[in-house]
């Protein structure tokens, strides 16, 4: 019998691994290395001039202090809200759990800039919602959200679901025997919670805290909408303002600022690592999840509390956003006379930049999702089923562009592509392709993680059976592995699409005329004072997002558990 493939498997495999390594290097190591080079050795000559000027500037330290303050405050709120809700949802017998989780996790899928825009429609003197209710403060009053406290509050709301999700995953894997052993030892439920559950939940809690902190530090949308008008600079907005005000001439300075923000985010990650290494929290038994505590007469009040919370946090701002999108002018109340769909018509049909942005964001997100899945399927194959030092390193490298704040990657991308690409001779700076590069680099890990968990649930023998049947690596990949990990890859692609579709941080720094994204257009409309148009466009993007999220619930059964955050 003839054997179909000419190349021995070992060579195909090696070529594939090195190809993937090169790609991940281009997407992760090259940009970050280039950034460090610019900060400390611009043009190849070691020099600390840029570093010392930037670091001795007053504004640098004010922004740094503000970044840390808002990040700590936002994390605190996220942990209190997300942690409490996770414990109640996971350990008690509340009803309609799935619907509640879907609603509570929604803010995570609403982009920060739209969260900020929506909340601005709820409070403040010109709020159409408050006008409608007759509750608006007198004109000329400052919007209370244009402040440090406003930023902290919205950061907390934005990332509470993040803490909720990490803690919920941990609580789900807590064996019921550990709780039952505590109860049968005579401890009351609150004592069990305090002395058994919470100590064992340290790893997910610490992970959630670190994740929330890093996300807060790197957030751009919320401080951009609240802090720029409020003259409260943080590092991300400082970088944006420097760059958009002064152009590429300040690249050395913003490179230093990016390294600074990267270092703060990194310290959060390392602290988590350190904390978890100090103690052994491994759970030694495995079993089904704990039986929920019965709340009895407290059940209804707790349920009312939870639903009120998520109505306040999710429904109220969205209502404000929708009301603003329906009035003729910002500052007028919504009634039969002022109600109009003209704002929607304008952003859909008349405003060229918005129309371009729809096309751009759609193409960028779909393109990035597709490319990443094509890379992630073979990459995850090697990460899960082969082990080597190179692969462990690749895994970390793939995580970095997403773990670090988006501005870090954006500045690094500018540094790489400012000049024409060597050998090829053309430049992608000021085109949509630089955004595409940054999206693929940043969201690679979003596609990789679900595929990796898909592989973990596969029986390796399925591949080995194909191998002994004579199939080479590439054929096995296409005929056996791809169909089996396809659901997980689809989930990853969807997650990438939704995240990129709503993205602002990276594109705010990389966009150019003709290469706008939806996030950028919403941002510039709001900055120009066109809140009604901004709200209408934001509502449209949210409709797309929610429709896609809901559509996934239909094929949820075929997905590995824990891949889609909004599916409980």
């Amino acid at each position: 019998m003839a054997h179909a493939h000419a190349i021995p498997d070992g060579r195909t495999e090696r070529a594939l691994i090195y190809g993937l390594a090169l790609l991940v290097g281009l997407l992760s190591i090259l940009p970050l290395g280039r950034l460090l080079l610019e900060g400390f050795a611009p043009g190849g000559n070691p020099s600390l001039t840029a570093a010392t000027t930037t670091l001795s500037a007053d504004i640098t330290w004010r922004a740094t202090r503000n970044s840390i303050e808002t990040a700590l405050g936002g994390t605190l709120i996220a942990v209190l809200v997300g942690g409490t809700v996770a414990i109640i949802v996971s350990l008690t017998d509340i009803r309609a759990r799935n619907a509640f989780v879907f609603l509570f996790v929604l803010p995570l899928m609403i982009p920060p800039q739209i969260t900020a825009l929506a909340w601005l429609q709820v409070v403040g003197p010109a709020s159409p919602m408050l006008k409608m209710l007759g509750l608006a403060p007198p004109l000329g009053t400052r919007n209370p959200l244009y402040s440090r406290e406003g930023i902290i509050l919205l950061l907390g709301i934005q990332y509470a679901p993040l803490v909720f999700l990490t803690l919920r995953a941990g609580l789900r894997s807590l064996p019921r025997e550990l709780i039952e052993a505590g109860l049968s030892a005579g401890a009351r439920r609150l004592t069990v919670l305090r002395t058994i559950v919470l100590p064992l939940m340290t790893p997910p809690l610490v992970a959630g805290i670190a994740l929330a902190f890093v996300s807060c530090v790197g957030n751009f949308g919320i401080p951009a909408f609240l802090g720029i008008p409020g003259r409260y600079p943080v590092l991300t907005t400082l970088i944006y303002q420097r760059l958009s005000g002064l152009g590429p001439g300040v690249l050395g300075e913003v490179a230093i600022l990016s390294v600074l923000i990267g270092a703060i985010a990194m310290s959060g990650i390392l602290l988590q690592d350190f904390m978890l290494r100090r103690a052994d929290y491994r759970i030694t038994t495995t079993s089904i999840a704990a039986r929920p505590f019965e709340l009895r007469r407290w059940r209804l009040p707790v349920e009312i509390g939870l639903w009120t919370l998520s109505l306040l946090v999710v429904v109220l701002p969205l209502a404000g956003l929708i009301i603003t999108s329906l009035v003729t002018a910002y500052g007028v109340p919504l009634n039969a006379k002022t109600a109009t769909l003209a704002n929607y018509a304008y952003v859909l049909f008349d405003y060229a930049a918005a129309k371009r942005a729809f096309v751009n964001s759609f193409a960028l997100s779909a393109g990035a999702a597709l490319i990443i899945v094509v890379v992630a399927v073979p990459l995850a194959y090697f990460l899960v089923w082969r082990r080597s030092r190179l692969l462990r390193f690749l895994n970390i490298a793939a995580e970095l562009p997403y773990a670090l704040p988006g501005v870090v990657l954006a500045i690094a991308s500018i540094l790489i592509f400012l000049k024409p690409i060597p050998l090829l001779g053309f430049s992608i700076y000021n085109t949509v392709w630089i955004i595409f590069f940054a999206y693929v680099a940043r969201f690679l890990v979003l596609g990789l993680r679900p595929v990796v968990s898909g592989y973990h649930q596969l029986d390796r023998a399925l591949e080995e059976a194909a191998q002994v049947a004579g199939a080479g690596l590439l054929r096995r990949m296409v005929t056996i592995i791809l169909p089996l990990v396809a659901p997980a890859a689809a989930a990853g692609a969807l997650l990438i699409f939704l995240t990129a579709f709503n993205e602002l941080t990276v594109s705010a720094l990389l966009w150019s005329s003709g290469a706008e994204t939806l996030g950028v257009v919403v941002f510039s409309l709001e900055q120009g004072g066109d809140s009604t148009y901004a709200s209408a466009l934001a509502v449209l993007t949210l409709i797309v997002t929610f429709a896609l999220m809901l559509s996934t619930l239909l094929l949820a059964k075929r997905l590995p558990q824990g891949v889609l955050p909004w599916r409980d």
Partner: protein, 360 residues
């Protein structure tokens, strides 16, 4: 079809020697079972023969072709072997016919020829009418048969079976055992069968290779293993042999006289067995008979007696060595109780060739 030659094969995982200089020669068309407790290295051996893992020392040859050696490694897809996995590993996204025909498609066999061979393979395992079903819609036994058809459709030179009956219930096991047996008789394929179940191995294999801690203990026919175990491990593992110390006093042409707990017993031994002061003997329960204490019997005490239906399994300990437990099958109607003093008569046994320092 081809013979399989394994020569001084060694595999380490860190400091742990999973395989230690294993040599094995499987004849063309032979059904060989690799038997051993878990962790004995049998799965490692299978993975090396299949080509999933590389050989560090030693060689594996299929037919005349060396497929594994420290210098060269033929990948599994080029070895022309078939495997039946413990989990069957049927591809859930393909129909039964697609599963079975996969290797032919990979090899570029044209559609009409491929369909014919798939149909033949499915007829061979009695599943011709299930061709269009998905594996998820089949029972455990049917999946097993599909896996078998899949590995045979390409007429591999060698079929590896990795504990193929371990996931089936007891009734199904017996009937699948018969099927494997018929199957081997019909096709004459060389089969390499991994199992930890000695009844299965005895029923199916032409020869059995007993492994322990990465080493090959003995390679022999089932009856030879049972009657003439090469060492203590095999003696104890196969058929729960009882091992007792004894002195070989007289040995000649396979017959010997051994002194066991002060009583002379006629036993079997190797033709070249030498006299030995401290030898080990392998006894079977059926060689032991309870008798009233007296001359010519070994004084023992009954530990406990467990009724087994028709007979009792009686555990006794020789007075001379109270830590040793012997088992005797006592017919119904002649009960003994724990604590009773009894005598034991030994009707026969086997001198374990390489037991103890005297034989070494």
């Amino acid at each position: 079809m081809a013979r399989l030659t394994i020569d001084r094969l060694t595999k380490r995982f860190g400091d742990y020697k999973a395989l230690d200089a294993v040599s094995l020669d499987v004849r063309d068309g032979e059904f060989i079972a690799i038997l051993g407790p878990s962790g004995c290295g049998k799965t490692t051996l299978l993975r090396l023969v299949a080509g999933f893992d590389r050989a560090e020392e030693g060689t594996i040859a299929i037919g005349d072709r060396v497929v594994s050696s420290p210098e060269a490694h033929t990948p599994p897809e080029d070895r022309r072997i078939g495997i039946v996995f413990q989990s069957y590993a049927l591809w859930p996204h393909m129909s039964v016919a697609e599963n079975v025909g996969y290797s032919l498609r990979v090899a570029g066999v044209a559609a009409p020829e491929r369909e014919r061979r798939v149909r033949e393979a499915l007829e061979l395992v009695g599943l011709a009418s299930f061709a269009e079903r998905r594996p998820a819609m089949l029972s455990g036994g049917q999946r097993q048969r599909v896996a078998l058809a899949r590995c045979l459709v390409a007429s591999p030179s060698l079929v590896l079976l990795d504990e193929p009956l371990a996931n089936l219930d007891v009734h199904l096991r017996a009937s699948m055992e018969d099927e494997f047996h018929d199957f081997h008789a019909r096709t004459g394929t060389t089969m390499f069968y991994i199992t930890h179940d000695q009844a299965e191995a005895m029923a199916l294999a032409d020869r059995i290779a007993v492994m322990d801690r990465g080493q090959l203990m003995q390679l022999a026919t089932p009856s030879e293993l049972y009657r003439e175990p090469a060492n203590e491990m095999v003696a104890g593992f196969i058929g729960n042999g009882l091992i007792v110390p004894g002195e070989v006093r007289d040995a000649n042409a396979g017959r010997a006289m051994a002194r066991v707990f002060g009583v002379d017993v006629p036993v079997r031994c190797r033709p070249d067995q030498k006299l030995a002061a401290a030898a080990k003997l392998c006894l079977r329960s059926r060689d032991l008979v309870l008798a009233p204490p007296g001359p010519g019997t070994i004084p023992c005490r009954v530990r406990r007696s467990v009724y087994q239906g028709g007979y009792s399994r009686v555990e006794i300990a020789p007075e001379a060595m109270p830590d040793l437990t012997l088992e005797v099958h006592q017919p119904e109607g002649d009960p003994v109780n724990s604590g009773d003093a009894v005598g034991v008569r030994i009707a026969g046994g086997w001198v374990i060739p390489d037991a103890g320092p005297a034989a070494a």
